[in-house]
Structures are given as C-alpha cells and as structure tokens.
Symmetry: C2
Subunit: 338 residues, 2 copies
DNA sequence: CTGTTAGCGCGTTCAG
DNA sequence: CTGAACGCGCTAACAG
C-alpha cells in the first residue's frame, strides 16, 4: 500500500493522499505491526544491554545512559542480568540472537569469550562496556581502571600508608586485574615492597568483601589501609571491620572504586574513585547507534573515560604508633552508619 | 517442514526423522527466527515492566522478581522507565503495543489511566504493581500502604510523639494517599488532633524530600517526628535536618517507608516499613503468566502482601523538655553517615 | 506519484 | 507420520 510510504515517510506521496491516509490512521487508531515490519526489514530497532548485576547502582546508571540515548533514535532496549555467570550470559546471548536484536552492549562476565564469538558469527555488532576483552577487536567503552587504582593507592601512600591491602573481584575480570596492576604500580613507584598476602581476589559483592576483609585482618603485621575494588566489596569489608571494632579511618583507611549516586547515602563518607557511569552507557549506546547507522565495518574504537578521586572521610594518615596488631574494642566501632 | 514439528515438539515425528533433524540443527547452529514465529502465532513470549524509577532499589528488586519468574516460563522482559511522567508512560505503552508484547506489568505514574484504557483496547492483559487504580477492574499486586503507615505512625505515637509530620509523594498516587490515610487513622485512634500543616505531598525523590522537610521545619511548634513516604524522601529530609543541626533521633525521630537492600548501607540506621519488593515482582509476574496460560477472562485478582516494621535507631521518644522551637546547633549534626 | 508483485520464515490446515 | 499449500502484515523492487 501507499500507507507504508506515509508511515515510513519514504518515497513520494501527494499531500492529499497523505492527508487521507493520516485521517484513516487516526480514525482507526491504527498501529503498524512491528513484527511484520521487522521480519521484512531484518531490523528490530532493538538493542540489548547484557550486564552482570542490575542491583548495582553503577550498572543502573549505565542502563539509564543507554536507554536515554537509544530512545532518541527510536531504539528500544532489552536489559539482561547475568549475575556474573558465564552460563547465564551465553543463554541470554542465544535468546537475543533469536530475537534478532540489532546489536548487543555487553558487560562480559568473568572469562566469557564464547558469547562474543557467537554474536560475531551471527553478524551482530557488539560494544563491550566497563571491561576489557584481551586480544579482541571490538568497540569498547570503559574507564582506565589501572590509572584509577593508581590514583587511589597513591592517595593512601601520600597519607603515609605502607601496608595497603587490595580486595577486588574475580582475577579473570579485566577491571579486577587492572585495579591490582594500578595498585602494584603505585607501590613500585615509591619502592614499597609488595606483599602477596595483601592482594585478594574474590567476587564483586558484599559477602565476598566481608570474607576477603576477614582474611586480611588476620595478617600480621596488619595493613593500615584497604583499597576495595567496588562499592559492594567495600560494604562487606566495612561490616567485617565493624564487627571487630576497627574504626575508620582511625584504625584503618579505606578507599573504594565506584561512588554511590548522590542522594543515595545520607552523608557521603567514603573516599572513592568515581566513574562516569551514565556517560559510559551513553557513549556505548552512541557507538552502537553509529554502527547501526552504517559504518558497520569501520575500525573498532575504544573510548576510555576519566575517573576521579573524591577524597572524603574514610581515609586518614595511619596511627603514629602501630597498635593494630592488638585487637581494639571500642563502643562506637566504625563511627559511620546507614 | 517437519522441522517445525521437531522444534516445537508438536504432532507426530518418527524418532529417526527427529534424530536427523536434530543433527542438522546442531550442525548448522540453526536458530529459528523468532520474528516469523511471532508473526504467525501472534505471541511474542515477551512481557514488559513499566515502572516509574529504575534507580530506586525498591523497583530494582521488583524488576528482579519479575525477570526471574518470567524466565522460568521462557518469557523475556522489557524494562521501561517513565520517570513518574504520564507522558513517557503513554509513549512506552504505545511502543509496547506496537511491539506486540504479550502483557504489561505497570506501575502507573500519577493519575495515569489513559495507558490502562489503551492497553485494554488492544486486548493486552495488565497487572498493576505497587499502586492501586481506583475503580478499575484489574489484577493488582501491592502491599497495604494504609496499614503500613498506620503501624509506622503508631510506633511513633507509642514512643510518645504527638506532633508528627508526614512527607510523601504525589497526592494522585495511591500509595501517597494511602500512607497519609494510615497516618491519619493512627492519630485518630489516639485522639490526637490532626494538623493540616503537618501533611505534605510532593514527589518521591530526594530533592522533594529536602524541600518538604524545610517546610515542616519552619512550623512552630515544631513536630518531633517525621514519617517519610519513601526512602528518597527520607534522604532529602535527613539532608535538611543535618543542615540545620537537628540530631536524629534525639531532636527528631524519623520512620520511613521502604527499606534498602542489605549490604546497601554500612550500618542500617533507619526505622523502616519494609515491603517485600522481590515478592511483589514475583507475584505480579505469576499473575501475568497465569493469564497468559489461559484464564484470560478470569475475575481480576488483587494480591496484598504484608509489610513489616523494622525498628532501628532513627526513632526514639521525644525529648522531655521541648526545646525544638529553638534552632539547635551541634557539631555532629545527625550522627549518621554514608 | 501510485499500485502490483513477491517474498521475509514460520505455523496452521489438510491431503497424502 | 510427512509434505504441500497458504497466509501472518509488512516492505523492496519494479512497473504504470
């Protein structure tokens, strides 16, 4: 029909006919069947965001950046949670391929490369977010974890800390590895002897943060500062510290990767490396929309966004006399709440 | 083809043929085109969750409940954010109708009834979440806001408070209205004279919480306790209190609707009415799947889930001598951080 | 500028 | 038990 031309605004239609069609559409409250259109055009005007944990506000912000950007171009977004499981991830990727989404924004779970291969096989454009896939030619948007970690640890060193622990996510996730690399470089810069015991890999969640903190608290001499690989790890670590009455920052400084959105916390207390999460989502969606708009074969681009150290009250110089090897017990353990 | 029968496991296929087809499928890494299937069957195996604010963990939990449940039956979920705007909402609803989702889970924005009508017109099953639509025959899943508010305010009264303010969301949103109703009933139960000045409607976000708190802090005699309609409002209110050096709970008690997920806060401090958010999502998805499985014409059901008062440290008896009308200034304003 | 023809890749229906 | 014919609602590619 000519109707198609009117709706898609393609080809020539006389103003009169157009008006007539428009009227009919309004009268019938006609909505074109997108399915049929998609079947024909091979494009669904849908992209997917596959991420590891939607309950993390870092990813929530990314999601909003993606959604807002995609919508400006008429794209819908499907959100998928892998819970950091490679298996869930591949399951979702299959689903998305079947549903013929036009492209996939992927925060890869630990060690996942199979999904990318699968997506490639089916000719789907992919943008990797937040994390880096070694030796893959693919669009990427992230912050420089190594540099961010370097700044964070450098901050601790500048305060006078020498025994600094790092608690982070899975070894196989690039952000974890990079954050540890930045940590190591910061130590090396100052000629501080690295201690393998003080580097702990785990999961990017609260229970793991708790466990890892318990582990490093048992070490003697005890570290005077902790660098937490993300906000959930920090929460777990702080719980462990509170339990045994260690005060922050008097007895232990803590610096964290990822801030919480403003308004989220009653009184921002943690010194953090803040990533522009919304912007990551926005840029990633932008890259994807570029690909979708034509330059599908262009060289892969990598966008590295800056992160920023925000100094607050969870970091301070170490105590002049190290009494940390005794177990202090105070009444108001950490001194920060809710 | 016979292939269709194999894939859908419908009709008779000889084991041999089936084996042959299976082999071919594996070899070619064949994935059926869901679009074509959907076009034919008029079903997309997709439901949508339209909510007001994905950055609120209450809705994030609901989203997870929905997703987990839908996936068990092979349904995909589209998440949509309306930012509490009726206009965005109707836009999304149009999009979803066009995309032929099988059903819509809706957290209606203030006063929205147009969306529901539109969805009905197009024969889409709808489940309303969290909020109540007056005079509509439709499936609903929510908690009893009136009862929850009653318990919260009753708790304050039991502590000895008499001048209690309530800060809540838009008047047109049922949860706001119900929470105020519960508040009023709790006062009436004890024969406490209601004061219209102490009831403030606004938005369910941080800035609004701040503004509303400023407003009630100017009232003399000043209230000794605040009931906040949701967590974001509480955050804003607490910021206002801190700014002027009012301590919680010494100078002002505060009780809040909605808890934060465990691990979210360093040390849970707020006394809250906790709603089973994940369960709301789960039940709503369950209701939808029921409809989709057949009983489309069954009577609408309403599921009301219980909420629970969790008493923590933000509530205490009012100070014996009321000095609240003077503006106290302390060094450690609120005494709770991060 | 408008209409016609021919599928997109499936599932339904009905003969083999 | 299997295949052939047909159509879901739309658009690409041509004529008119």
């Amino acid at each position: 029909m000519t109707v198609s031309r009117v709706i898609n605004d393609s080809g020539y239609v006389s103003p009169e006919t157009r008006a007539k069609v428009d009227r009919a559409i309004a009268e019938l409250d006609y909505m074109p069947n997108v399915l049929a259109r998609q079947l024909r055009s091979k494009r669904t005007k849908t992209i997917a965001l596959v991420m590891t944990d939607i309950s993390n506000p870092f990813f929530t912000s990314i999601a909003r950046g993606v959604e807002d950007t995609a919508r400006t171009q008429g794209y819908a977004v499907m959100f998928c949670n892998t819970y950091e499981s490679e298996c869930e991830e591949i399951g979702y990727v299959r689903l998305l391929i079947q549903r013929r989404v036009d492209g996939v924004l992927l925060v890869p779970a630990a060690g996942s490369t199979g999904s990318l291969a699968l997506l490639r096989e089916h000719g789907l454009p992919v943008v990797i977010l937040d994390r880096h896939l070694r030796a893959e030619q693919v669009d990427e948007v992230r912050t420089d974890s190594e540099a961010g970690a370097h700044v964070a640890v450098r901050h601790l060193i500048d305060l006078g800390h020498r025994r600094i622990a790092v608690l982070t996510g899975p070894k196989a996730v690039s952000t974890s590895a990079d954050r540890v690399a930045g940590y190591r470089r910061a130590l090396a810069d100052e000629g501080i002897e690295p201690d393998r015991e003080l580097v702990v890999f785990g999961e990017y969640n609260e229970p793991s943060g708790y466990e890892m903190a318990r582990q490093i608290l048992a070490i003697r001499p005890r570290p005077t500062a902790v660098f937490a690989g993300n906000n959930f790890i920090a929460f777990g670590a702080i719980r462990a510290l509170r339990e045994e009455g260690t005060r922050i920052p008097e007895d232990m400084s803590i610096v964290v990767f990822d801030d919480l959105p403003p308004g989220w916390v009653l009184d921002p207390f943690l010194t953090v490396v803040c990533q522009p999460a919304y912007e990551i989502g926005k840029q990633a969606a932008g890259l994807m929309l570029d690909r979708l708009r034509g330059d599908a074969a262009a060289d892969p681009r990598t966008i590295v966004l800056p992160s920023e150290l925000i100094t607050r009250r969870s970091t301070a110089p170490p105590r002049p006399i190290d009494v940390a090897s005794r177990s202090p017990r105070q009444t108001d353990p950490v001194g920060n709440r809710s």
